[in-house]
Amino acid sequence: MRLPSLTRSKPEAPGVHAEPFWSLRPQSDREAGDAVVSNFMLHWFPAKISKASMAWNYSFWLGTISAALFFLTILSGLPLLFLYVPSVERAYQSVKDIEFVITFGSWIRSVHRISAHLMVIVVALHLMRVFLTGAYKNGVGRGQQREVNWVIGVVMFLTTLFLSFTGYLLPWDQLAFWAVTVGTNIAASIPAIGASVRELLIGGRNIEQATLIRFYVLHVVFLPGLLGVLFAYHMWRVRKDGGLARADAESVVESPRSTAPVPSKTYTLLGVARGTAPTVTAHTLDAPDATVNAVPDLVRRAAIATLGTIAVISIMSVFIASPLEEPANALVTPNPAKAPWYFLWLQEIVTDTTIRIGSFTLNGAFVGGVILPGLLVGLLTFWPWIDKSSHLAAGVWLPRDRRTQNLVFLLLILGVLALTFVGMVLRGPYWILYWPWEAWPEIPGRI
């Protein structure tokens, strides 16, 4: 075989690529397949991919964008690791230095912050997309375990939230201090063990140095490590399950008779996986009009999604400065004190479920902060086993078969969004509702 290359020496064996920099325009499907195997960065790609899975308007490439954002937070976090000092005496000052005098410091911090916020949004959108398309459902392949990948995905979403939450505290300003105060007080409302849970979270009874170092280590070591491992497994499972659920849907549509698939092609990863590898009907995937080569079509689209994300974040970070409020002060509560925005719907429920009858107060933090989100996360986790719709509904946007559950899901999302909006925009000092056109009372200055 022959790889067209710019170098003089031509690789003798397939799978061995002699060039340090990869530049390839495959002339045949065989060459395109070999290119995937021979490149470390691409080894997790399939050789061929169905056009339907590639479509922008099926997945919106939200998973890839999430991964790009995760990559960006790590990349921008590395220089911050060298600059930030996780001590209550110096954290705030070190962030000020990053903002004011470190070369590209404020841009790097903005990249980190904006990527992190967008990651919460995009991961949530990715999860919604997977739900609405029933992509956690197994299709026609043998040995598929998409529901496992869904559970991994839910855990990754929660890890993303916790990563963002732990990062929130690090600047040690008023915003950080009080957002974490609100967040950890919700945990304290669990009956019997609440106080201990809070103490475990913040390493004591007050938010202090012990809390900062705890959140710092979680933020820079454990949670990114966990997310990285889960991410690798998540991607591996996608391949093991025969790609996106859309590919299954496509093969079903193309050959409605293939209820018993023909085991003619097995995707394995470098021979590591045996036996349970899903087998996808060969005639659709090999059909020239239904598939394209991963190299270069998938690679190019992945690059567009990744680099496009980087470009957008880079420009946003020039124009959107990261906030840094007054230094943390346990004696002065900002009014209103708000949780991070992605927990505001919970804070709103906490307020709305706090019932006062005379001197008796039913604390809403347990209902709104523990029971309800616990129930929702539980339902979300086990939904693949509750959803009894046909396998034909996998990988299809809003199928008739899953209409009711999609509707309920969308209504819940809408509710969460509405509560988040109320908490973010409408809640003013003393948690009083203000319309957007109503001015809040002016915040006084010192001198």
Partner: protein, 408 residues
Amino acid sequence: MEQRTSSPYPRVDRLVMAVVGVVLVIGTGLFMWSDRAHDWRYYQLEFRQMVAGKFGDDKAAVLPSGVQQIWAADLARADRCVTCHQATAYKGFETAEHPYRTHPIEPLQQHPVEDYGCTSCHGGQGWAIDTAAAHGEVAHWEEPLLSRSLGDTYTLAGNKNALMQMNCNTCHRYDRETPGAGAINLAKRLVNEKGCRACHVINGFGGTIGPDLTTVGEKAPEQYDLSRLSGQRTAFAWHVAHFKDPRALSEGTVMPNFNFSTEQAQALSMLMLSWRRADVPALYVSGAPRTDPRSPDELKAEAAMRTGPGGWFVQTGCFVCHSISALGVRSPAQIGPDLSNAVEDVQSRFGVTLDAFLANPTGTMSVVLSRQIILTPEQKQVAITKLREAFAEYQRQRATPAAPARNQ
């Protein structure tokens, strides 16, 4: 060779990819530019030209460039003000416009800039290097530059620069009079005259009818009830209005109306905001005792020694180590031998006469007399005379057993 499957994507995707590439390049250019775009580059260029025009290119060439800072380690202040205010320590620009003006020399003699930085007196945000942020005229920074223009906005009676005196009082809190801090001095006089301590605890003692004012300056702006305040909505404005008419600002208060003038009310408000939980090292606190506390008996004994026959040894500092018990001088440390019998003791210890020893001391005394207590030949002569007197007294006391001499 088998053919490659034709793909419908490259035509559009390549174009999109190209656009993404262009946007990436633009983004990179943008953040590179935004990192460079700072006012201080302009101010440094301008000052360089001013120095070149006035003192020549050689002087301009050695001006520091880039971000500059004064690091006052004791106060943990990194003040980057000098990035733009390059002339502060540069003689010859006393009448120039800010930021090119030379700092007056008098306050800096008492408060060396390398120990105090800029912001501990002037306020502002020393970390910042852009005008608005550095002058503290931004959200979430509660220590604005205490400038003349800020004084103007409060139509400060008298000295428009007086707001800065609030920061003087961080260290000069326990002074009765601080030179140059007229408003604070006036306020401190008023606190005594009007008897504020009748109702308020100040610095740890006073009445309990009103709130403790010891750290009233720490009170956050959010914690003031500004609902009855008209005009500027700041803690300072609240205090001024409250001093002029307490009942108008805080309903039902028993604080009397003292009919303060505007100047008095403003001075008192400055004093209030200056009473903060300041985290300054003891060395920076004016009026803090520099010696160990002494009991009245000890003070009386020392006064007696100073005025007694051995007073010369106390003034010269010999008594730090040596008692001269025959003359009633008792050293607090008693490191060295009693000098009452120095005339014979020197002979026995060093084998020379007292005169010779003082002229050419050896051992510890050679160090002491060359570094710490440097005596002129005339003073040495006085010492010898006095020590002879002491010896005479010593011998007289020895002869009288009623008064035993302390000998070490």
